[in-house]
Protein backbone atom coordinates (compact mmCIF):
# COMPACT_ATOMS: atom_id res chain seq x y z
CA UNK A 1 0.00 0.00 0.00
CA UNK A 2 2.99 2.33 -0.28
CA UNK A 3 1.64 3.96 -3.40
CA UNK A 4 3.61 7.17 -3.92
CA UNK A 5 1.75 10.44 -3.47
CA UNK A 6 1.00 12.60 -6.51
CA UNK A 7 1.18 15.77 -4.45
CA UNK A 8 2.80 16.05 -1.06
CA UNK A 9 3.64 18.96 1.18
CA UNK A 10 6.03 18.71 4.05
CA UNK A 11 6.45 21.29 6.74
CA UNK A 12 4.58 23.82 4.62
CA UNK A 13 4.45 27.12 6.51
CA UNK A 14 3.14 30.55 5.62
CA UNK A 15 3.69 33.51 7.90
CA UNK A 16 2.26 37.01 7.48
CA UNK A 17 4.23 39.22 9.81
CA UNK A 18 3.56 37.66 13.22
CA UNK A 19 0.60 35.56 12.09
CA UNK A 20 1.21 31.94 11.15
CA UNK A 21 -1.61 31.14 8.73
CA UNK A 22 -0.31 27.74 7.71
CA UNK A 23 1.79 25.93 10.26
CA UNK A 24 4.02 23.03 9.20
CA UNK A 25 1.42 21.15 7.21
CA UNK A 26 2.24 17.66 5.97
CA UNK A 27 -0.34 16.66 3.45
CA UNK A 28 -0.42 14.06 0.67
CA UNK A 29 -2.81 13.10 -2.10
CA UNK A 30 -2.52 9.92 -4.16
CA UNK A 31 -3.21 9.60 -7.86
CA UNK A 32 -6.94 9.35 -8.53
CA UNK A 33 -7.91 10.41 -5.05
CA UNK A 34 -10.72 12.84 -4.23
CA UNK A 35 -9.84 14.74 -1.08
CA UNK A 36 -11.82 17.37 0.75
CA UNK A 37 -10.14 20.04 2.78
CA UNK A 38 -12.39 21.50 5.45
CA UNK A 39 -12.09 23.74 8.45
CA UNK A 40 -13.74 26.76 10.03
CA UNK A 41 -13.16 30.31 8.82
CA UNK A 42 -9.58 31.37 9.34
CA UNK A 43 -8.32 27.79 9.54
CA UNK A 44 -5.82 28.52 6.77
CA UNK A 45 -7.62 26.71 3.94
CA UNK A 46 -7.36 29.56 1.44
CA UNK A 47 -3.78 30.35 2.33
CA UNK A 48 -2.83 26.70 1.98
CA UNK A 49 -4.61 26.62 -1.37
CA UNK A 50 -2.73 29.69 -2.56
CA UNK A 51 0.58 28.16 -1.50
CA UNK A 52 -0.19 25.20 -3.75
CA UNK A 53 -1.17 27.39 -6.71
CA UNK A 54 1.86 29.65 -6.54
CA UNK A 55 -0.21 32.73 -5.74
CA UNK A 56 1.65 32.87 -2.44
CA UNK A 57 5.22 31.86 -1.84
CA UNK A 58 5.41 29.74 1.31
CA UNK A 59 7.71 30.93 4.06
CA UNK A 60 9.09 27.41 4.58
CA UNK A 61 8.56 23.80 3.67
CA UNK A 62 8.11 22.13 0.31
CA UNK A 63 5.42 21.16 -2.17
CA UNK A 64 6.27 18.21 -4.37
CA UNK A 65 4.10 17.29 -7.34
CA UNK A 66 4.98 14.24 -9.44
CA UNK A 67 8.54 14.32 -8.10
CA UNK A 68 9.01 18.02 -8.90
CA UNK A 69 9.41 20.80 -6.36
CA UNK A 70 6.76 23.48 -6.82
CA UNK A 71 7.79 25.92 -4.13
CA UNK A 72 8.93 29.13 -5.78
CA UNK A 73 7.39 28.27 -9.16
CA UNK A 74 5.03 30.80 -10.73
CA UNK A 75 1.36 29.99 -11.21
CA UNK A 76 1.63 29.37 -14.93
CA UNK A 77 4.56 27.01 -14.44
CA UNK A 78 2.57 25.06 -11.87
CA UNK A 79 -0.40 24.83 -14.21
CA UNK A 80 1.81 23.57 -17.01
CA UNK A 81 3.06 20.74 -14.84
CA UNK A 82 -0.50 19.41 -14.81
CA UNK A 83 -2.41 21.15 -12.05
CA UNK A 84 -5.75 22.78 -12.82
CA UNK A 85 -6.93 25.67 -10.68
CA UNK A 86 -10.54 26.58 -10.06
CA UNK A 87 -10.63 29.78 -8.01
CA UNK A 88 -13.26 30.66 -5.45
CA UNK A 89 -14.85 33.50 -7.39
CA UNK A 90 -15.46 32.41 -10.98
CA UNK A 91 -12.76 34.00 -13.05
CA UNK A 92 -13.70 33.99 -16.72
CA UNK A 93 -13.37 35.93 -19.96
CA UNK A 94 -16.69 37.71 -19.67
CA UNK A 95 -16.75 39.06 -23.20
CA UNK A 96 -16.29 35.65 -24.82
CA UNK A 97 -18.75 32.78 -25.27
CA UNK A 98 -18.41 29.71 -23.04
CA UNK A 99 -17.02 27.67 -25.94
CA UNK A 100 -14.12 30.04 -26.52
CA UNK A 101 -13.39 30.27 -22.83
CA UNK A 102 -12.94 26.52 -22.70
CA UNK A 103 -11.00 26.35 -25.96
CA UNK A 104 -8.47 28.87 -24.66
CA UNK A 105 -7.51 26.40 -21.98
CA UNK A 106 -7.13 23.50 -24.40
CA UNK A 107 -5.04 25.64 -26.77
CA UNK A 108 -2.23 25.55 -24.23
CA UNK A 109 -1.22 22.07 -25.37
CA UNK A 110 -3.14 21.44 -28.57
CA UNK A 111 -3.79 22.68 -32.08
CA UNK A 112 -6.86 24.76 -32.82
CA UNK A 113 -8.74 21.82 -34.30
CA UNK A 114 -7.97 19.45 -31.45
CA UNK A 115 -8.91 22.19 -28.98
CA UNK A 116 -12.35 22.45 -30.52
CA UNK A 117 -12.82 18.70 -30.09
CA UNK A 118 -11.72 18.78 -26.48
CA UNK A 119 -14.03 21.73 -25.89
CA UNK A 120 -17.00 19.75 -27.21
CA UNK A 121 -16.11 16.82 -24.96
CA UNK A 122 -15.92 19.06 -21.92
CA UNK A 123 -19.21 20.75 -22.73
CA UNK A 124 -20.83 17.33 -22.81
CA UNK A 125 -19.04 16.04 -19.74
CA UNK A 126 -20.27 18.92 -17.60
CA UNK A 127 -23.60 18.93 -19.46
CA UNK A 128 -23.48 22.58 -20.41
CA UNK A 129 -23.61 22.24 -24.20
CA UNK A 130 -26.70 24.47 -24.13
CA UNK A 131 -24.56 27.33 -22.81
CA UNK A 132 -21.79 26.92 -25.39
CA UNK A 133 -22.46 30.01 -27.47
CA UNK A 134 -23.58 32.39 -24.75
CA UNK A 135 -21.28 35.10 -23.45
CA UNK A 136 -20.24 34.00 -20.00
CA UNK A 137 -20.70 37.53 -18.69
CA UNK A 138 -24.46 37.00 -19.00
CA UNK A 139 -24.61 33.63 -17.22
CA UNK A 140 -25.87 32.98 -13.71
CA UNK A 141 -23.32 32.45 -10.96
CA UNK A 142 -23.77 28.68 -10.78
CA UNK A 143 -23.51 28.35 -14.55
CA UNK A 144 -20.31 30.33 -14.48
CA UNK A 145 -18.89 27.93 -11.90
CA UNK A 146 -19.62 25.02 -14.25
CA UNK A 147 -18.08 26.79 -17.25
CA UNK A 148 -14.95 27.44 -15.24
CA UNK A 149 -14.76 23.80 -14.23
CA UNK A 150 -15.03 22.76 -17.89
CA UNK A 151 -12.32 25.28 -18.68
CA UNK A 152 -9.98 23.88 -16.05
CA UNK A 153 -10.61 20.31 -17.20
CA UNK A 154 -9.92 21.24 -20.82
CA UNK A 155 -6.30 21.76 -19.80
CA UNK A 156 -6.26 18.00 -19.05
CA UNK A 157 -4.73 18.28 -15.61
CA UNK A 158 -3.59 15.37 -13.44
CA UNK A 159 -4.66 17.18 -10.31
CA UNK A 160 -7.42 19.75 -9.94
CA UNK A 161 -7.58 22.21 -7.06
CA UNK A 162 -11.07 23.56 -6.42
CA UNK A 163 -11.76 26.39 -3.99
CA UNK A 164 -15.40 26.25 -2.83
CA UNK A 165 -16.73 25.08 -6.20
CA UNK A 166 -20.35 24.79 -5.00
CA UNK A 167 -20.65 28.35 -3.72
CA UNK A 168 -23.66 30.15 -5.16
CA UNK A 169 -25.11 27.09 -6.87
CA UNK A 170 -28.70 25.92 -6.89
CA UNK A 171 -29.45 22.51 -5.37
CA UNK A 172 -29.79 21.03 -8.84
CA UNK A 173 -26.42 22.41 -9.97
CA UNK A 174 -24.82 21.16 -6.76
CA UNK A 175 -26.04 17.65 -7.45
CA UNK A 176 -24.69 17.84 -10.98
CA UNK A 177 -21.34 19.10 -9.75
CA UNK A 178 -21.10 16.35 -7.13
CA UNK A 179 -21.74 13.73 -9.81
CA UNK A 180 -19.11 15.21 -12.10
CA UNK A 181 -16.49 15.34 -9.35
CA UNK A 182 -17.16 11.73 -8.35
CA UNK A 183 -16.84 10.64 -11.96
CA UNK A 184 -13.59 12.53 -12.45
CA UNK A 185 -11.96 10.95 -9.40
CA UNK A 186 -10.00 7.94 -10.49
CA UNK A 187 -8.95 9.56 -13.77
CA UNK A 188 -7.36 12.41 -11.88
CA UNK A 189 -6.80 13.63 -8.34
CA UNK A 190 -8.99 16.34 -6.89
CA UNK A 191 -8.55 18.56 -3.87
CA UNK A 192 -11.75 20.34 -2.92
CA UNK A 193 -11.68 23.14 -0.38
CA UNK A 194 -15.22 23.35 0.92
CA UNK A 195 -17.34 24.87 3.60
CA UNK A 196 -20.67 23.20 2.93
CA UNK A 197 -20.90 19.94 4.91
CA UNK A 198 -23.87 18.68 2.91
CA UNK A 199 -21.93 18.95 -0.33
CA UNK A 200 -18.95 17.22 1.25
CA UNK A 201 -21.16 14.37 2.31
CA UNK A 202 -22.24 14.01 -1.32
CA UNK A 203 -18.76 13.74 -2.75
CA UNK A 204 -16.11 12.91 -0.26
CA UNK A 205 -14.25 9.82 0.52
CA UNK A 206 -11.27 11.21 2.40
CA UNK A 207 -11.27 14.41 4.41
CA UNK A 208 -8.54 16.55 5.92
CA UNK A 209 -9.57 18.99 8.64
CA UNK A 210 -7.49 22.11 9.04
CA UNK A 211 -7.67 24.07 12.26
CA UNK A 212 -5.55 27.05 13.19
CA UNK A 213 -3.21 26.42 10.32
CA UNK A 214 -2.51 22.80 11.27
CA UNK A 215 -3.79 19.45 10.13
CA UNK A 216 -6.23 18.59 12.87
CA UNK A 217 -7.55 15.27 11.66
CA UNK A 218 -7.67 13.04 8.60
CA UNK A 219 -10.14 10.28 7.86
CA UNK A 220 -13.16 9.22 5.84
CA UNK A 221 -16.51 10.98 5.86
CA UNK A 222 -18.19 8.90 8.52
CA UNK A 223 -15.25 9.16 10.89
CA UNK A 224 -14.91 12.90 10.55
CA UNK A 225 -18.60 13.61 10.82
CA UNK A 226 -18.84 11.54 13.97
CA UNK A 227 -15.82 13.14 15.59
CA UNK A 228 -16.90 15.18 18.59
CA UNK A 229 -14.11 17.75 18.46
CA UNK A 230 -14.69 18.42 14.76
CA UNK A 231 -18.32 19.11 15.51
CA UNK A 232 -17.27 21.48 18.24
CA UNK A 233 -14.90 23.31 15.94
CA UNK A 234 -17.69 23.73 13.45
CA UNK A 235 -20.12 24.87 16.06
CA UNK A 236 -17.58 27.52 17.01
CA UNK A 237 -16.76 26.15 20.48
CA UNK A 238 -13.20 25.86 21.66
CA UNK A 239 -11.81 22.43 21.04
CA UNK A 240 -10.05 21.62 24.25
CA UNK A 241 -6.80 19.75 24.18
CA UNK A 242 -6.63 19.99 20.43
CA UNK A 243 -3.28 18.30 20.22
Amino acid sequence: MSEPALLATSGLTMRFGGVVAVDQVDFAVKAGELRCLIGPNGAGKSTFFKCLTGQLRPTAGSVVFADQELRGATTHEIVRKGIGIKTQVPNLFDGLPARENIALSALQNHSKKRSEEITDQMLELIAITALANRDVGHLAHGERQLVELAMVLAGQPRLVLLDEPAAGMTAEERGRLANVLRELAGDMSLIVVEHDMQFIRDIATEITVLHRGRVFLEGDVAEIMAHREVQEIYLGKEANGAA
Partner: protein, 334 residues
Protein backbone atom coordinates in the same frame (compact mmCIF):
# COMPACT_ATOMS: atom_id res chain seq x y z
CA UNK B 1 -18.90 32.14 -34.73
CA UNK B 2 -17.91 31.17 -38.23
CA UNK B 3 -19.90 34.02 -39.64
CA UNK B 4 -18.26 36.48 -37.28
CA UNK B 5 -14.81 35.36 -38.35
CA UNK B 6 -15.49 35.51 -42.05
CA UNK B 7 -17.04 38.94 -41.59
CA UNK B 8 -13.87 40.01 -39.86
CA UNK B 9 -11.66 38.80 -42.69
CA UNK B 10 -14.01 40.51 -45.11
CA UNK B 11 -13.42 43.81 -43.30
CA UNK B 12 -9.66 43.38 -43.41
CA UNK B 13 -9.84 42.45 -47.09
CA UNK B 14 -11.90 45.53 -47.76
CA UNK B 15 -9.38 47.76 -45.98
CA UNK B 16 -6.56 46.14 -47.93
CA UNK B 17 -8.31 46.78 -51.23
CA UNK B 18 -8.87 50.43 -50.32
CA UNK B 19 -5.20 50.63 -49.36
CA UNK B 20 -4.09 49.19 -52.70
CA UNK B 21 -6.39 51.58 -54.56
CA UNK B 22 -4.82 54.50 -52.68
CA UNK B 23 -1.36 53.13 -53.44
CA UNK B 24 -1.99 53.05 -57.18
CA UNK B 25 -4.22 56.05 -57.77
CA UNK B 26 -3.02 58.78 -55.41
CA UNK B 27 0.22 59.53 -57.31
CA UNK B 28 -1.76 59.73 -60.53
CA UNK B 29 -4.61 61.88 -59.28
CA UNK B 30 -2.86 64.38 -56.99
CA UNK B 31 -0.08 66.91 -57.41
CA UNK B 32 3.37 66.76 -55.82
CA UNK B 33 2.54 68.84 -52.75
CA UNK B 34 -0.52 66.75 -51.99
CA UNK B 35 1.37 63.49 -52.46
CA UNK B 36 4.03 64.72 -50.00
CA UNK B 37 1.34 65.64 -47.52
CA UNK B 38 -0.22 62.20 -47.87
CA UNK B 39 3.14 60.47 -47.45
CA UNK B 40 3.25 62.09 -44.03
CA UNK B 41 -0.14 60.62 -43.18
CA UNK B 42 1.05 57.18 -44.28
CA UNK B 43 4.09 57.32 -41.97
CA UNK B 44 1.96 58.51 -39.07
CA UNK B 45 -0.59 55.79 -39.81
CA UNK B 46 2.16 53.19 -39.41
CA UNK B 47 3.23 54.90 -36.18
CA UNK B 48 -0.32 54.76 -34.84
CA UNK B 49 -0.63 51.07 -35.75
CA UNK B 50 2.15 50.33 -33.26
CA UNK B 51 0.05 51.65 -30.39
CA UNK B 52 -3.30 50.50 -31.80
CA UNK B 53 -1.93 46.96 -31.76
CA UNK B 54 -0.36 46.81 -28.31
CA UNK B 55 -3.19 48.72 -26.63
CA UNK B 56 -6.15 47.30 -28.51
CA UNK B 57 -5.00 43.70 -28.81
CA UNK B 58 -2.66 43.25 -25.87
CA UNK B 59 -4.09 45.66 -23.32
CA UNK B 60 -0.75 47.46 -22.91
CA UNK B 61 -1.17 51.20 -22.72
CA UNK B 62 2.15 52.83 -23.53
CA UNK B 63 2.47 56.52 -22.76
CA UNK B 64 5.83 56.64 -24.48
CA UNK B 65 5.32 55.33 -27.97
CA UNK B 66 7.29 58.34 -29.24
CA UNK B 67 10.35 56.75 -27.64
CA UNK B 68 10.39 54.00 -30.26
CA UNK B 69 9.51 56.45 -33.01
CA UNK B 70 12.46 58.60 -32.01
CA UNK B 71 14.89 55.72 -31.56
CA UNK B 72 13.98 54.43 -35.01
CA UNK B 73 14.47 57.88 -36.48
CA UNK B 74 17.84 58.47 -34.83
CA UNK B 75 19.09 54.95 -35.51
CA UNK B 76 18.21 55.33 -39.17
CA UNK B 77 19.80 58.78 -39.37
CA UNK B 78 23.07 57.73 -37.76
CA UNK B 79 23.46 54.44 -39.59
CA UNK B 80 22.44 55.71 -43.03
CA UNK B 81 24.86 58.65 -42.79
CA UNK B 82 27.61 56.22 -41.80
CA UNK B 83 26.85 53.46 -44.27
CA UNK B 84 25.91 55.49 -47.33
CA UNK B 85 22.93 53.26 -48.02
CA UNK B 86 19.45 52.93 -46.53
CA UNK B 87 18.19 49.35 -46.60
CA UNK B 88 20.34 47.96 -43.80
CA UNK B 89 19.86 51.14 -41.73
CA UNK B 90 16.11 50.67 -42.04
CA UNK B 91 16.49 47.20 -40.53
CA UNK B 92 18.87 48.54 -37.88
CA UNK B 93 16.30 51.17 -36.92
CA UNK B 94 13.65 48.49 -36.45
CA UNK B 95 16.05 46.30 -34.47
CA UNK B 96 17.19 49.12 -32.16
CA UNK B 97 13.63 50.09 -31.30
CA UNK B 98 12.60 46.47 -30.81
CA UNK B 99 15.58 45.72 -28.55
CA UNK B 100 14.91 48.80 -26.49
CA UNK B 101 11.26 47.79 -26.17
CA UNK B 102 12.30 44.29 -25.13
CA UNK B 103 14.66 45.59 -22.44
CA UNK B 104 12.14 48.07 -21.08
CA UNK B 105 9.37 45.52 -21.32
CA UNK B 106 11.43 43.04 -19.32
CA UNK B 107 11.66 45.49 -16.42
CA UNK B 108 8.00 46.38 -16.58
CA UNK B 109 6.30 43.04 -17.15
CA UNK B 110 8.62 40.84 -15.13
CA UNK B 111 8.46 43.46 -12.39
CA UNK B 112 4.68 43.08 -12.56
CA UNK B 113 4.05 46.80 -12.71
CA UNK B 114 0.38 47.74 -12.64
CA UNK B 115 -1.24 49.74 -15.45
CA UNK B 116 -0.73 53.11 -13.77
CA UNK B 117 2.96 52.47 -13.16
CA UNK B 118 3.35 51.17 -16.70
CA UNK B 119 1.96 54.39 -18.12
CA UNK B 120 4.21 56.49 -15.94
CA UNK B 121 7.36 54.48 -16.61
CA UNK B 122 6.92 54.54 -20.39
CA UNK B 123 6.28 58.27 -20.25
CA UNK B 124 9.31 58.96 -18.09
CA UNK B 125 11.59 56.83 -20.26
CA UNK B 126 10.63 58.91 -23.27
CA UNK B 127 11.22 62.11 -21.34
CA UNK B 128 14.69 60.96 -20.39
CA UNK B 129 15.54 60.00 -23.96
CA UNK B 130 14.40 63.47 -25.01
CA UNK B 131 16.59 65.12 -22.36
CA UNK B 132 19.59 62.92 -23.11
CA UNK B 133 19.54 63.56 -26.83
CA UNK B 134 18.99 67.28 -26.22
CA UNK B 135 22.29 67.35 -24.34
CA UNK B 136 24.36 65.95 -27.19
CA UNK B 137 25.08 69.26 -28.94
CA UNK B 138 28.83 69.17 -28.35
CA UNK B 139 31.28 67.88 -30.99
CA UNK B 140 32.24 64.99 -28.71
CA UNK B 141 28.88 63.30 -29.32
CA UNK B 142 29.65 61.59 -32.60
CA UNK B 143 28.78 58.13 -33.83
CA UNK B 144 31.07 57.34 -36.75
CA UNK B 145 30.68 60.30 -39.08
CA UNK B 146 27.30 61.35 -37.75
CA UNK B 147 27.14 64.13 -35.19
CA UNK B 148 24.12 63.84 -32.92
CA UNK B 149 23.81 67.61 -32.80
CA UNK B 150 21.78 67.89 -29.59
CA UNK B 151 18.84 70.25 -29.89
CA UNK B 152 19.96 71.18 -33.43
CA UNK B 153 19.15 67.71 -34.64
CA UNK B 154 20.70 65.76 -37.52
CA UNK B 155 20.33 67.33 -40.97
CA UNK B 156 20.89 65.81 -44.43
CA UNK B 157 19.58 62.36 -43.73
CA UNK B 158 19.70 60.29 -46.95
CA UNK B 159 16.48 59.66 -48.83
CA UNK B 160 15.51 56.03 -48.82
CA UNK B 161 16.13 53.83 -51.83
CA UNK B 162 14.29 50.72 -52.83
CA UNK B 163 16.16 47.67 -51.53
CA UNK B 164 16.65 46.39 -55.11
CA UNK B 165 17.73 49.81 -56.49
CA UNK B 166 20.30 51.00 -53.95
CA UNK B 167 21.75 53.66 -56.26
CA UNK B 168 18.53 55.46 -57.01
CA UNK B 169 16.91 57.88 -54.56
CA UNK B 170 13.17 57.51 -54.54
CA UNK B 171 10.94 60.07 -56.22
CA UNK B 172 8.22 61.43 -53.92
CA UNK B 173 5.54 59.41 -55.69
CA UNK B 174 7.61 56.22 -55.41
CA UNK B 175 8.29 56.91 -51.76
CA UNK B 176 4.57 57.28 -51.22
CA UNK B 177 3.92 53.93 -52.88
CA UNK B 178 6.74 52.16 -51.07
CA UNK B 179 5.57 53.43 -47.69
CA UNK B 180 1.97 52.63 -48.52
CA UNK B 181 3.01 49.06 -49.42
CA UNK B 182 4.80 48.76 -46.07
CA UNK B 183 1.72 50.07 -44.26
CA UNK B 184 -0.57 47.58 -46.02
CA UNK B 185 1.90 44.78 -45.34
CA UNK B 186 2.12 45.57 -41.62
CA UNK B 187 -1.66 45.90 -41.42
CA UNK B 188 -2.20 42.49 -43.01
CA UNK B 189 0.49 40.85 -40.88
CA UNK B 190 -0.99 42.30 -37.69
CA UNK B 191 -4.40 41.07 -38.73
CA UNK B 192 -3.08 37.54 -39.27
CA UNK B 193 -1.27 37.73 -35.94
CA UNK B 194 -4.41 38.83 -34.12
CA UNK B 195 -6.37 35.92 -35.59
CA UNK B 196 -3.67 33.38 -34.73
CA UNK B 197 -3.40 31.37 -31.54
CA UNK B 198 -0.94 33.94 -30.22
CA UNK B 199 -3.44 36.70 -30.89
CA UNK B 200 -6.26 34.89 -29.14
CA UNK B 201 -4.19 34.47 -26.03
CA UNK B 202 -3.08 38.09 -26.21
CA UNK B 203 -6.71 39.18 -26.27
CA UNK B 204 -7.54 36.85 -23.41
CA UNK B 205 -4.78 38.54 -21.40
CA UNK B 206 -6.39 41.89 -22.13
CA UNK B 207 -9.75 40.50 -21.01
CA UNK B 208 -8.59 38.69 -17.88
CA UNK B 209 -4.93 38.56 -17.01
CA UNK B 210 -5.28 36.45 -13.87
CA UNK B 211 -7.36 33.73 -15.51
CA UNK B 212 -4.99 33.52 -18.46
CA UNK B 213 -2.15 32.91 -16.03
CA UNK B 214 -4.26 30.29 -14.24
CA UNK B 215 -4.66 28.45 -17.54
CA UNK B 216 -0.91 28.02 -17.67
CA UNK B 217 0.05 30.81 -20.05
CA UNK B 218 3.07 32.92 -19.22
CA UNK B 219 1.40 36.33 -19.27
CA UNK B 220 4.66 38.22 -18.86
CA UNK B 221 6.23 36.60 -21.90
CA UNK B 222 3.22 37.32 -24.08
CA UNK B 223 3.13 40.94 -23.01
CA UNK B 224 6.83 41.27 -23.63
CA UNK B 225 6.41 39.89 -27.15
CA UNK B 226 3.49 42.20 -27.91
CA UNK B 227 5.31 45.24 -26.57
CA UNK B 228 8.41 44.36 -28.61
CA UNK B 229 6.38 44.02 -31.80
CA UNK B 230 4.87 47.44 -31.09
CA UNK B 231 8.36 48.86 -30.55
CA UNK B 232 9.58 47.41 -33.86
CA UNK B 233 6.67 48.97 -35.77
CA UNK B 234 7.20 52.30 -34.02
CA UNK B 235 10.89 52.14 -34.95
CA UNK B 236 10.08 51.46 -38.60
CA UNK B 237 7.75 54.45 -38.63
CA UNK B 238 10.47 56.60 -37.05
CA UNK B 239 12.98 55.63 -39.73
CA UNK B 240 10.45 56.48 -42.44
CA UNK B 241 9.74 59.80 -40.73
CA UNK B 242 13.47 60.61 -40.64
CA UNK B 243 13.99 59.93 -44.33
CA UNK B 244 10.75 61.70 -45.26
CA UNK B 245 11.86 64.85 -43.42
CA UNK B 246 15.58 64.28 -44.20
CA UNK B 247 16.00 65.65 -40.67
CA UNK B 248 15.41 64.61 -37.07
CA UNK B 249 15.65 66.60 -33.86
CA UNK B 250 15.06 65.64 -30.20
CA UNK B 251 11.45 66.77 -30.38
CA UNK B 252 10.69 63.47 -32.11
CA UNK B 253 10.90 62.08 -28.53
CA UNK B 254 8.66 64.76 -27.07
CA UNK B 255 5.59 64.09 -24.97
CA UNK B 256 3.53 65.71 -27.71
CA UNK B 257 4.25 62.86 -30.11
CA UNK B 258 3.34 60.24 -27.52
CA UNK B 259 0.18 62.17 -26.73
CA UNK B 260 -0.73 62.57 -30.39
CA UNK B 261 -0.35 58.86 -30.95
CA UNK B 262 -2.66 58.16 -28.01
CA UNK B 263 -5.20 60.69 -29.20
CA UNK B 264 -5.29 59.18 -32.69
CA UNK B 265 -5.87 55.71 -31.28
CA UNK B 266 -8.55 56.94 -28.90
CA UNK B 267 -10.29 58.92 -31.60
CA UNK B 268 -10.23 55.97 -33.97
CA UNK B 269 -11.19 53.52 -31.26
CA UNK B 270 -9.18 51.12 -29.12
CA UNK B 271 -9.58 47.55 -30.33
CA UNK B 272 -9.47 48.18 -34.07
CA UNK B 273 -6.57 48.69 -36.46
CA UNK B 274 -8.48 50.57 -39.11
CA UNK B 275 -10.05 53.18 -36.81
CA UNK B 276 -6.79 54.68 -35.52
CA UNK B 277 -5.49 55.10 -39.09
CA UNK B 278 -8.63 57.06 -39.90
CA UNK B 279 -8.03 58.95 -36.65
CA UNK B 280 -4.62 60.09 -37.93
CA UNK B 281 -6.10 61.32 -41.17
CA UNK B 282 -9.03 63.13 -39.60
CA UNK B 283 -7.14 64.82 -36.77
CA UNK B 284 -4.05 65.72 -38.78
CA UNK B 285 -6.28 67.30 -41.39
CA UNK B 286 -8.21 69.13 -38.69
CA UNK B 287 -5.12 70.51 -36.99
CA UNK B 288 -3.68 71.44 -40.40
CA UNK B 289 -6.78 73.54 -41.04
CA UNK B 290 -7.04 75.03 -37.55
CA UNK B 291 -3.29 75.58 -37.37
CA UNK B 292 -3.63 78.39 -39.92
CA UNK B 293 -4.93 80.72 -37.22
CA UNK B 294 -2.76 82.61 -34.70
CA UNK B 295 -4.76 82.71 -31.51
CA UNK B 296 -5.12 78.97 -31.15
CA UNK B 297 -2.26 76.50 -31.29
CA UNK B 298 -2.01 72.79 -31.89
CA UNK B 299 -1.50 71.88 -28.24
CA UNK B 300 -4.72 73.61 -27.20
CA UNK B 301 -6.66 71.73 -29.85
CA UNK B 302 -5.11 68.36 -28.98
CA UNK B 303 -5.60 68.92 -25.27
CA UNK B 304 -9.26 69.77 -25.70
CA UNK B 305 -9.81 66.82 -28.03
CA UNK B 306 -8.18 64.41 -25.57
CA UNK B 307 -10.28 65.62 -22.64
CA UNK B 308 -13.38 65.55 -24.82
CA UNK B 309 -12.68 61.98 -25.99
CA UNK B 310 -12.10 60.71 -22.45
CA UNK B 311 -15.21 62.35 -21.04
CA UNK B 312 -17.69 61.89 -23.85
CA UNK B 313 -16.54 59.27 -26.33
CA UNK B 314 -14.52 56.71 -24.40
CA UNK B 315 -15.03 54.13 -27.14
CA UNK B 316 -13.68 56.38 -29.88
CA UNK B 317 -15.26 57.85 -32.97
CA UNK B 318 -15.04 54.88 -35.29
CA UNK B 319 -16.56 52.21 -33.01
CA UNK B 320 -19.25 54.66 -31.87
CA UNK B 321 -20.11 55.31 -35.49
CA UNK B 322 -19.94 51.59 -36.33
CA UNK B 323 -22.23 50.66 -33.44
CA UNK B 324 -24.63 53.38 -34.50
CA UNK B 325 -24.71 52.09 -38.08
CA UNK B 326 -25.06 48.41 -37.19
CA UNK B 327 -27.82 49.24 -34.74
CA UNK B 328 -29.81 51.04 -37.38
CA UNK B 329 -28.99 48.41 -39.97
CA UNK B 330 -30.21 45.62 -37.69
CA UNK B 331 -33.35 47.55 -36.85
CA UNK B 332 -34.20 47.94 -40.49
CA UNK B 333 -33.64 44.25 -41.17
CA UNK B 334 -35.59 42.88 -38.28
Amino acid sequence: MLRAISKDWLGAGFVTVIGLAILFFVPVLFDLFEVLQMTKYVVLALFVLSLAYIWGFGGILSFGQAGFFGLGGYAFAVSSINMGQTTVPFLIAIAVAALFAAALGYFMFYGRLSDVYLGVVTLVVTLILWKLINHTAGPEYVIGTARLGGFNGIPSIPIMTLPWQPDQEMEPSHMFQYFMAILIGVYVLLHILIKSKFGRIAISIRENEVRTGLLGYDVRLYKLAIFTIGGAIGGAAGAMWATYQTFVDPNIFSLEWSALCLIWVMAGGVGTLFGPMVGVLALEYLSFQLGQTDFINNLIIMGVILIFLVLLLPKGLFPTFRDFVTKHWNRRHE
